[in-house]
């Protein structure tokens, strides 16, 4: 029995191709049930994300897995994509190395992203539920999870956010800890501000107040975020209750000016205030940073940190690869031991389906 993987990813295919091969959760369930019953296969798993579509199998050497995938799409009543013929093919140790890299985030579009590990776990669980995870696949995926976990703990490959919004959230957490008690004032109802506010809400932000030159747009965004909208003339008083201010406007002059906020700042006491300026030209008077309780970051600061994180992640890839190599060697040793045990016909020998 041989480990096989056929797949495409963002490295070698445009999204228009990937979407033709992507399967929905319901289709994956049916596909695994169908593959489980094919002669020559003892196990199968499908990893389908927005960046990759990969079909893993434990198959007899003579099995035409590529041809089988054509039949799979027919069974799903989907047009069989002609790209099946061009899927990258990996065999044996290549499959092991590839899956380990994928699970550890080294093969992702953004090196070190951690969401993929959850998706790989889901792929394994779906295979297990469908009764398509044989002993070899079980061991392969468990080893991949262990390897990815070690990479995460022992290297800096997943360190820090690599987008402006993610860095802003991390900084807010460095100041306030949990965001569950924090309120944000969002000045400007554009895309950038919305992304940052959403990233904060994903980490438990308590509430948001949105203001914008066009009040209707502020209301629309507030509705989408589950916050409230206030007219541009009234936002200053919201500072009394706010912990974070995100300014993302295209105004020619700073909208947050020290001389206009003196009274509000005095009244709100010395509670920390995190000011995030995503505007160009800058929307927050740099003089605000003079206040003891104020932490001010502009878009260049945030992008600089994101770039640093990316560089750190890239520099950690070599040590991550070493860890993966060790786990891959352990997996190979296990397979070899299994093969000897089967050939020896000893007690506990696994059947041909294993």
């Amino acid at each position: 029995m041989e480990l096989v993987c056929l797949g495409i990813s963002h490295h070698d295919a445009h999204v228009s191709v990937r979407e033709r091969l992507a399967l929905s959760p319901g289709e994956i369930e049916r596909a695994l049930g169908w593959l489980r019953d094919r002669a020559g296969l003892s196990g199968a798993a499908i990893l389908s994300t927005c960046n990759r579509a990969e079909f893993y199998a434990v198959a007899e050497p003579a099995t035409d897995f590529r041809g089988m995938l054509g039949g799979l799409f027919d069974m799903l009543r989907r047009p069989s994509p002609h790209e099946i013929g061009q899927l990258r093919s990996l065999v044996g140790a290549e499959v092991v190395a590839h899956l380990f890299r994928v699970a550890a985030g080294l093969d992702s579009m953004v090196v070190g992203e951690t969401e993929i590990l959850g998706q790989v776990k889901q792929a394994y669980e779906e295979s297990h539920r469908a009764g398509a995870a044989c002993k070899v696949l079980h061991r392969l995926f468990q080893s991949a999870f262990r390897a990815a976990k070690e990479v995460r703990h022992r290297t800096e490959v997943t360190r820090g956010g690599v987008s402006v919004a993610a860095v802003a959230v991390e900084l807010a957490e460095k100041i306030f800890g949990s965001l569950a008690a924090c309120r944000v004032v969002l000045i400007g109802a554009g895309d950038t501000g919305e992304k940052t506010a959403k990233a904060m809400f994903s980490r438990g932000l308590r509430g948001a107040v949105v203001t914008n030159r066009t009040f209707e747009r502020a209301v629309e965004l507030a509705d989408r975020l589950g916050g409230t909208a206030v007219p541009l003339s009234e936002w200053r008083w919201e500072l009394l209750f706010a912990d974070i201010v995100v300014v993302a406007t295209s105004a020619e002059q700073a909208v947050v000016r020290e001389e206009e906020l003196g009274d509000v700042l005095r009244r709100r006491g010395r509670r920390p205030l995190f000011l995030i300026d995503l505007s160009v030209p800058r929307g927050i008077d740099p003089g605000m940073a003079r206040h003891d309780e104020v932490y001010l970051y502009n878009v260049d600061d945030l992008q600089g940190i994101a770039d640093q994180h990316l560089a750190i992640r890239r520099s950690a890839v070599a040590s991550a690869e070493e860890i993966l190599g060790r786990h891959a060697a352990e997996f190979s040793a296990w397979r070899e031991a299994e093969r000897r045990r089967r050939e020896g016909g000893g007690w506990g020998a696994v059947g041909p389906g294993q």
Partner: protein, 265 residues
Amino acid sequence: MSGGLVFSAAVAAYAVASAMGLYRMRSRLFRPGVVQFAAFVGALALHTWYLMMRGAEVRRCPVTTPADIMVFVAWSLAVAYVVVGPVYRFTIPGVLTAPLVALLLLASLAFPSVAGPAKGEVSAAVEFHASSSLLAYGALGLACVTGLFYLIHDHCIRAKRFQAWFDNLPSLHELGRVNRDLMLYGLGLMSVGIISGFFTPGGVNAAKTISFVMMWALYAALLLASATDRISGRRTALLSSLLFAAMILSFWTFSLARGGMGQGP
């Protein structure tokens, strides 16, 4: 079992906890592992046992020689580590507590541990006064350390420079909270120390008492100002560190003026 053996066992257990903590820190894990925490608690139990043996030996609270005071201060740091809670334990200062305690115990060996004749009358009141005051020093010392970490973290955020080591510090909010909790804990112990000082035989040393009460008032004012958001977290952290430095300075001044460590602070 001899006191020396218990002392050595305590140092060894702290050393094990230190080694495990530093090893885990390499992997950016600050939360103590079960074995590591058990080693620390075991070390603290041995440490406490040693202090009890030492107390029985010198027939008073063992805070009368420089060596004993170091052992006692180390003990108060270890107690605070266990008592203060996870926010402190799961951080760099938390990880560094075991090595610091082990070093203090080892450093105490450099001083003669034989207690000389007591300079004042030995009584339960004196011992209670001295031990509660030393525990207050321990708590306020940890508040100072936490305050320093707050200042480092605050500086990194303002300067927009992040070192990998300090990346795992708790948030400023949490460091500030631990800093205040420790000051509150220390203030309570200081109150006990001051009040019990009035019941010691031979009366109080007026200058020392005034200095201690002034420190108490400054800490209380600092806590009040911080709780009502009248001063920023940064200033609270800075002042807590400066106040502790002033307290240590006044302690040494009084000790020198008395020509030794006498009856403790």
